[in-house]
Amino acid sequence: MFNRDQKEFDIKEAETIIGPSVKVKGNFHGTGNIIIEGTVEGSVKTDKYLLVGEKAEISASIEAGEAKVAGIVTGNITVKGYLEIAATANISGDVNAHEISIEKGGVVNGKLTIGTMEKAKKEIAEN
C-alpha cells in the first residue's frame, strides 16, 4: 500500500491495471489496488489504492481508500485517506479527502474539502 513516506507505489501490488491503449466505459469497481493509465468513462471505485497515471483521462466519479492523481480527471474525487495530486494532474471536480498534498503545477478546478474522513467514509458507504 502507498503512503506519504513512500516515493513510488509498487506496480507489482496492483490487482488491476488499465493500460494506455484501453478505454473503459461503465462502473469500474475493484477491491484491490488499481492503476489507470488509459481512458475511463463512468465511475471508478476501490477500497484500496488508486493510481491515476500521467497518461490517464478519466471522466468519472472516483472513490478510493488512498490515491495519487497525475492525469486528467473530470468528476468528483472522494478519498478516505491520503490523496496526492501530482504536478501533471488536472482535476475538474470537487475533491474530498482526509489528507491532501498538491505538487506545484497540479491543477484543481473545484471545491477542496480536507480532513473530513468521516464524511468521506460515509459517502463511500452510502454509495
Binding site: 488491476t16 491495471i17 488499465i18 493500460g19 491503449s21 484501453v22 461503465g26 462502473n27
Partner: protein, 256 residues
Amino acid sequence: MYIYIYDSFVNHKKYEKVLARIETRITDLGLNGKIVRIGIMTSVHDVVENELRKGANTIIAVGNNGIFSQALNSIAKLTNVGQNVTLGLIPIDREKNEIANLLGIEPEERACDILSARRIQTLDLGKAGNNYFLTQAQITTDSTKLEIDENYTIETREPGEIFILNLPTLDLGIDKDISNAEDSKLELLIRTAKTKKIIPTKKGGINHSYLNFKSVNIINQKHHLILDKHLNVDTPALVTIAKEKINLIVGKGRGF
C-alpha cells in the same frame, strides 16, 4: 484402462518409427491399453464417450495441442458419463506442443515415463460458450469489444492481443504468480506491440492491461476466439471459469 487416441496427423508414414518406439516403451512400462486412430470419419468426442461408457478412466492424447484440446473438451462435457477420468498427453513433434511444455511432458517416448509416474494434478478449466480450455483463450484487439461482469465495457485502441488466462502457456512469458489454474479465477490480459514485460519495471512503464473478472462477453464480428492455441470459437462468447475440473498427468518439470 488406458485409451490412447492418436491424432490423424500421426498416421503419416514419417511417424511410424516414433510410434513404434512409444508403443514398445508403453509395453515395457506395463501401460498397455487400447489404441484408437482418429481419421476423417472418427470423432474424438465419440471415441471418448464410447470408451468412458466401457469404463475407461485414463485417456492419453497422442499428438499435439489439437488432440489434447479435443480430448479435454470431451472429458469435460462427459462428466455425467465418466467420473474421475484422467487425461494424459504424449507429444509428437516439438511444434504446436506448447501445452506439453507447460505440463512438463517430454516429447515422444520419454513421455511414457511421465505417464508411468502418474503424477496427477486437478486443475481449473475456463469455459467459452460450450467449449472448455486449460491454458488461455485469445483474440486480436482488432474490432473486439469486451463486456465485463455486465458492469463495464473495454475497447482497445492499438493493435494487439487479448488473453483470458487460466494457466498460460510458457511462451506468453507470464509469471505464475499472475495466473494459475488452482484459484478458480480467470484473468484478462491485453498486450499491444508496445508491451515488453507483463510486470513492468519503473523504467519500462505500463503498456498492458490486466484485471480479474467473473465473466466476460467477447464480441468480434471479424475474428474467432482461439482456445488452447487450437480451437476456433465464434463470438459473442461468454467466458467464465467452468464448474468442471480436469485431472491431468503432469511432469516434474511443469511450468506451474
